[in-house]
């Protein structure tokens, strides 16, 4: 299972970084979403991988339990990244509709300075 989780994080991160380095906003936003998925899984794994255990100490049975803190952290991280993705989509749409151009790099200002 460690291999599966680790490679999932790795593949998501690699794909995310590739997309983030693209020139247009849509792939970049997709890349950021992939990166946030990767980081969410990574945060889960930071509390060690546990199968079939509740996130709470159980006084009657054995002491197997899942670390509850990463779950709380992931919840916060998911909410924040979800909201942020929505915000960036709106701003990018506004910029695209306004300038009819969805490149993320700076506008070439040679014309402006030539005046």
């Amino acid at each position: 299972m460690e291999l599966l989780v680790a490679s999932a994080i790795g593949v998501l991160t690699a794909g995310g970084i590739y997309l983030v380095l693209r020139l247009r906003t849509f792939p970049v936003i997709l890349g950021i979403s992939l990166l946030t998925y990767a980081v969410n899984v990574f945060l889960f794994a930071s509390g060690r991988l546990t199968i079939g255990a509740g996130p709470i100490l159980n006084r009657y049975e054995d002491l197997t339990y899942a670390d509850p803190l990463p779950q709380a952290l992931v919840l916060t991280a998911i909410v924040i990244s979800f909201g942020m993705t929505a915000v960036v989509v709106m701003i990018a749409l506004g910029a695209f509709l306004g300038a009819n151009d969805d490149h993320v790099d700076d506008i070439d200002d040679t014309e402006e300075s030539a005046q």
């Binding site: 970049v28 950021i32 945060l43 794994a45 803190l69 942020m84 506004g94 910029a95 300075s113």
Partner: protein, 513 residues
Amino acid sequence: MTHWLIVPVVLPALMAPFIVLAARYHLSIQRVMSVATMLALVALGAGLMWQTSDGTVLLYQLGDWAAPFGIVLVGDRLSTMMVLLTAILALFVLIYAIGSGWDTRGRHFHALYQFQLMGILGAFLTGDLFNLFVFFEVLLIASYGLMIHAGGNERLKAGVQYVLFNLLGSTLFLFALGSIYAETGTLNMADLAIRVQGLEPGAETAGLRVAAVLLILVFAIKAALVPLHFWLPSSYAEAPAPVAALFAIMTKVGAYAIIRVYTMVFPAEIEATAGLHGTWLLPLALVSVAVGALGILAAKKLDRLVTFAVISSMGTVLVAVGMFSQVGIAAALYYMLHSTLAAAILFLVVDLTRHGRDTLQLITRAPVAGAALTAGLFFFGAIAMTGLPPLSGFLGKIMVLQAGFAQPAAVWIFSVILISSLVSVVGFGRAGSTVYWKANIVEPDPESEATAPSVMAYAGVGGLAAVLILLTVFAGQVHSYTQATSAQLFAPNTYLSVVLETPGKLSDPKGGE
């Protein structure tokens, strides 16, 4: 336990929804509430600073849960000083925003402004790394809204870049936090400091080292350290002027986080993270100083020139931080106070200059009403920013150089800072003489109807200038305060014991289970 410590976070957090819900269509009520909140925050900041000035560490346990299980807010000399600085800056910038009418050019300016302050003040006060992440997000979310306030294509485009860059930074931050938690099992700064110090020599520290590097990358992005500064020039130049002036404190949040985490959690003498401080931070900070100075010389527009001045001055702050010595941090803190005020003044002056001009490019235009006062303020701001006597920039740079004297890299520190100062003086001199000095050679346009900017706008800039003058006049007192702050940072035992040994709900560290 004092409850005052949480008020700087709660007050703007309550005021913002009040402004949105109750005063939505009443700009004058919004303005009054906003200014009243700022005044209250200044008073609070001063009160907290006075309380902590004798070395007391204030602690607030949220929900009465004891650290490290609950989240704590901690106020020591450093945090309360930054709270007061933020409140003073925000007050005068708000006065400018009202005076210049920026708050009427879009909706919800005041509400976003309050949320922005909530995030910044929370980031200064929190004692928990994950909570620091949350407050970073609060201040970023508000800053996205403020950044594109009043709209416009250029601004939206710069806004997209700014948001994307910061989203990447947040992702990195989460990766760093995950690694830290996986390695140490805690995210409370004080608890973390004790666990990192308790590592046995020879223990496996690969994960911890990765986390330390990731974390300093995140803070360096916030502090605009070269080569992570690319987001700053276009976003600060395109942001509305009062927002850019408020953003002057945001780069300092990054510097604050570096000082806090890398003096307490990963101090220079820890074996696992040795080399991170001297090998990387100091040289890159020197490169920032140089790149900023070159940018000042190369800028074609006045607003870009100021953004590069910000990069250069952040570089100077980080040079002093990168020494990680007691005198170094003391100098960094003094320079940080100065550079926040100077950058804010310059951003506001650029906006005053835009008043009545068609372009901010460095082209001579005819003088307009109010130009003399604006030019005078630019002169003042430029002197402060470049570090010419007699203002605090000069004193701050002397302190940084004095601290650098004992460093092995002293030759580099001296030559880079001094040469870059000269280059920025030339850059500012050239820009100032083209934009302001030569204005009289152009015939004024008789049909121009531009009126002088309002008195209240000048009052905002003037207030910041007055604070800067006070910082210069009382430099001795302020510097001895920053020295005491630095001493407290290098002797974190009081901080650690207050945070970890104060009993709370369900936990009594002294009495056992």
